[in-house]
Structures are given as structure tokens and as C-alpha cells.
Amino acid sequence: MKFNVSKVREDFPILSTQVRDQPLVYLDSAATSQKPQFVLDVMNEAYQQYHANVHRGAYWLSQVSTEKYEGVREKVAKFIGVKNTKEIIFTRGTTESINIVCSSWGQENIQEGDDIVITRMEHHSNFVPWQQLAKEKKANLKIIEINQDYKLDLESVQKAFSGNPKVFAFTMMSNVLGTLNPVMELTKMAKDKGAMVLIDAAQSVSQMPISIDELGPVDFIAFSAHKMCGPTGVGVLWGKEALLNQMKPYQFGGDMISRVQDHQTSWNELPWKFEAGTPNFVGVIGMGAAIDYLQSIGMDQIHQYEQKLIDYTVNEMLNVSGLKLIGPKSPHNRGTAFSFTLEGIHPHDLATFLDVKGISIRAGHHCAMPLMDKLQIVATTRASLLFYNTKEEVDLLIQSLNEAKKYFLGGQK
């Protein structure tokens, strides 16, 4: 079926609403994506028709709820190209997924003097946990720097791996720069040095098909449902079974146990060992619906359409005088996040101006302060698109940027 953006937009109720008496133009999907009616309906149905706690009841309702919940593991496994559902752990989101690896794997495996390698373009969620682990263990935090094209600097990459790297944790796509990293090559380099590799796929998961086969021999992948048209509060940690088996539980409580005695407890098997307490099962079911929805359109179709949007947006943005794109200027190997500065106008003022026109856009440090410090920028404005955005919306953004220049800078430009 051919991708039809007007049809797709009809699936998202919020996209036909108004803000400040203007049609909503939602350009902040890198922060969180909007939800199609289908996902909302599936979650509503879960609450209205088979809501009961999972893994507990011997009654029909709980059995249905458990089946639906566990069924999502298979959907997720297929979505990222793995077979073993024991390796799919449901979490609160990318942040918790990374924290599990840091706390559990990191505590056991990182020692004084080891190198923990991350990159300059990490979101705080893949920066702070490793920074704190390094501090605690007296390990070295090595940060791969970016070059003038806002891509990882090759020299810096080689330098980072020259020592004793134990972990390499990096993002597939920068939420600020839009840069797509060469996952396969980087993973190979890290694995050659014996490092464990974790991929933060939070930004990329909604934008392209992910297949473990194409990523290389990675050990962990983390992502969130809410950036792929699913609900908030749910995410995934995928890890290799052998590694997950070696790891200690991250939290203790119900569901993650096999037998509890007065003075000792044995753990449940994978994946439940890492799912303490009543899980957000309706959220997980919603994530399953989001995967169904994305696959009903087709990840390849989504990717192709978004690539056209990227080509168009880069081209249009580079034509705006005074606009500096903080990210790769080439439309290839970049995602749909476009950070920029507009000479003479502070991002906050610009965001307010655009808001009045119905355009929802992010201004600030985008949870990547170490990157902003390095770039010596206090804040940027960021437009981030998803497959439900249109060229017309990009046109409106560009037109509004030019209007903002007139409004704030008058005849100066």
C-alpha cells in the first residue's frame, strides 16, 4: 500500500485539533510522539474488557491479561529482529533500561581503571548513569567528541578505544543533532577491544527498521514506547540471554522471585527476574498496539517518507538567512531532528512566537547539557518530525521563521 500522509494523519486525533485558535502543527516528536486512535482503543479495551493483574490470578480475566501482556514480547522481538523472547525485558522506558545495565552489569563488571566510553551527543539518560558509575568505581569516562559536521570524530573514536574499554554506550540517533551513527562499524571496533556494547535506540526506533543482524554484535538495546506512538511509562531493554543470566536483579519484590524464604530468596527466570512488582501491563499492551500500528504502515514506507521530509527540510532550512543548522547539513545519514539557531533571536522567544502560530516546537538544552557546553550554545530551537508531518507544515515553519525575523529584528535583516 502506498504511504498516504493525509490518511495517516486521520489516525491521530490530536493532529486535527487547534492550539491558540490555530491548527496544531506538532514539531516535537523527538520529545514524545503523538498516539493513533488504534493505540488508545487497544488500551481502553484492556481497561474495559480484560483488566486484571498479570501472572497472578487463576481466573479467566487474569489469564487474558497475562496472555496479552506476554504476547507483546513476541511483537517486540520480531520488531527488532530477535527470536528469544526471554531477552525482552519490559521497563519504564529508555532511562530505566540503561539504569538496569549500569546498576546490575556495571556494578559487577566495572573496576578501577577501566574505560567507560560514551559520546558527546548522548542524551542525559545515556550520559549521567555512566558518569556516576565511573565516579563510584574510579573508572575513566571517555567521551568521543564530534567533528565540524556534527558527526563522531574518527580520531576521537580511535583514541577512546585505544585503552581498556569495558563498555561502549552510544545513541543510534542524536536527539539534538539528528546525526545517525554508523552502528555496525562502531560496534565492531568496540567488540574488537572486548567491550560490552549498549545502543540507545530511543530516537531511532520509530524512524527505521531495527534489525539486530544489521547492527552487529551488540549486547543491549534500550528504547521507549512513547517515542514510537505508544504510551508513556513503558520501554524495552533487550539483552543477550547469557549476559542477562549473569546479572543480578535490579529491583526486588513480587514477580521477580521464584521462592522466598525467611532468610533467602531465589530469583525468577528471564525476563521476569528484571520485572519486579506489578508491571505497567496496560502500557505494555499499548506498546504492542503501537508496534502493530507502525507495521501496518510499514517501517520501510515510514523510513522512505521521512527521508523525503528530511531532504525537503534540510534544503528549506539552509535557505533561511541567519539560520544555523546545529547538525549535519547532508540529508543522508541523518534523522528527523533539526536543531538550529536563528541569529539575533533567542530560542525561547522564537518558541513563543511559533506557539502563537500553533507550532509546537522545543527550545532549550534538550537534555544534552554536555553537548551544548561543548558547542558553546546556551540553547537551540528544535523542530523534530515524524511520518505524520507534512511538507506544508515545514513550509509554515519556514514562513514563520521569516516572520519572526521581521517581528524581532525589524528592518535589520
Binding site: H348, V356, V378
Partner: protein
């Protein structure tokens, strides 16, 4: 489009202060120096104060920093406004300005350029921008330690 709502925020005098900030810079040997930071957007201001010989009156105020037009205009207006005022009156003015931002006081109850900032209350996410220099000033006068944060 509806520029009226935008104009209620970006009054002429605000844009004018932003383009030509008053009392911008640093003081040599200030009696108080305080840095304020808004972690949400990265805006940063430093307030330098000098008291007169009675130690009860601000003789000079300078500000320095980087931020949006609301933040910079507010700091500029404040720095200009408080020079020559008694500390006790400044503290009252800080409270009055806070009340203006929160809609507890009407613009008619205040005087000077700062009244132009009353439109900010219609844009709740921007209130912190307008308040940054004022909460920093308050901390400076109360000798608080560390960097002032708006959240």
C-alpha cells in the same frame, strides 16, 4: 495571525531594553555578587551590587548574562529601577514584581518600565524568564550561598 497576543508580551519597551540593555556589565569590588541560572532554558544572569556608606541603600547595580528577550529586558529594567533605592524598598519591589507575574497585583499598582512585563503572566512558561534576575537579586540581598536556580 493574531499578533495582538504576541504584542501583549513583547511590548515595544521590552524589545527596546533587550536591544539596548541598561546597566549591563560588572562592578569592581561589588558588595554583593550573585549568579542566577534557569536550568530549563539555560538563561544565566549575574547581579553585582554596591551599597552606599549607610549600607542600607543600593548605589549601583550591574547585570551580566545571556538569555531571552524577556529575561534580559527584565534584568535591565530591574537594574535601572533599583539604583538609589533603600534595601527595604527593593525587597518590597521584588515581592510586588512577583505578585505582578502571578496576577496577584494589577499593572496599575506598579510604576516604571517594569509594568510592561505584565503581559508575561499570560505565558506561564515564560514567567521564570522574567523572574530570574529578581530572585537572584533577592538571594544577593539575603546573602544566600551558591547559584540561584529558578526551579
Amino acid at each position: 495571525m493574531n499578533f495582538a497576543v504576541l504584542d501583549s508580551l513583547y511590548k515595544e519597551v521590552i524589545l527596546e531594553h533587550q536591544k539596548d540593555p541598561r546597566n549591563f556589565g560588572h562592578l569592581d569590588n561589588p558588595d554583593f555578587q550573585k549568579e542566577g541560572f534557569n536550568p530549563l532554558c539555560g538563561d544565566r544572569v549575574t547581579i553585582d551590587l554596591k551599597l552606599d556608606e549607610t549600607k542600607e541603600k543600593v548605589s549601583q547595580c550591574r547585570f551580566h548574562g545571556e538569555g531571552c528577550s524577556i529575561c534580559m529586558a527584565s534584568a535591565s529594567m530591574m537594574a535601572e529601577e533599583i539604583e538609589g533605592l533603600q534595601v527595604v524598598d527593593i525587597k518590597k519591589l521584588i515581592q510586588d514584581f512577583r505578585d505582578l507575574m502571578q496576577g496577584k497585583k494589577s499593572p496599575e499598582e506598579l510604576e516604571g518600565d517594569i509594568v510592561a512585563l505584565s503581559g508575561v503572566k499570560n505565558f506561564p512558561v515564560r514567567i521564570k524568564c522574567a523572574l530570574l534576575s529578581w530572585v537572584t537579586l533577592k538571594d544577593a540581598l539575603e546573602h544566600s550561598d551558591g547559584t540561584t536556580r529558578t526551579e
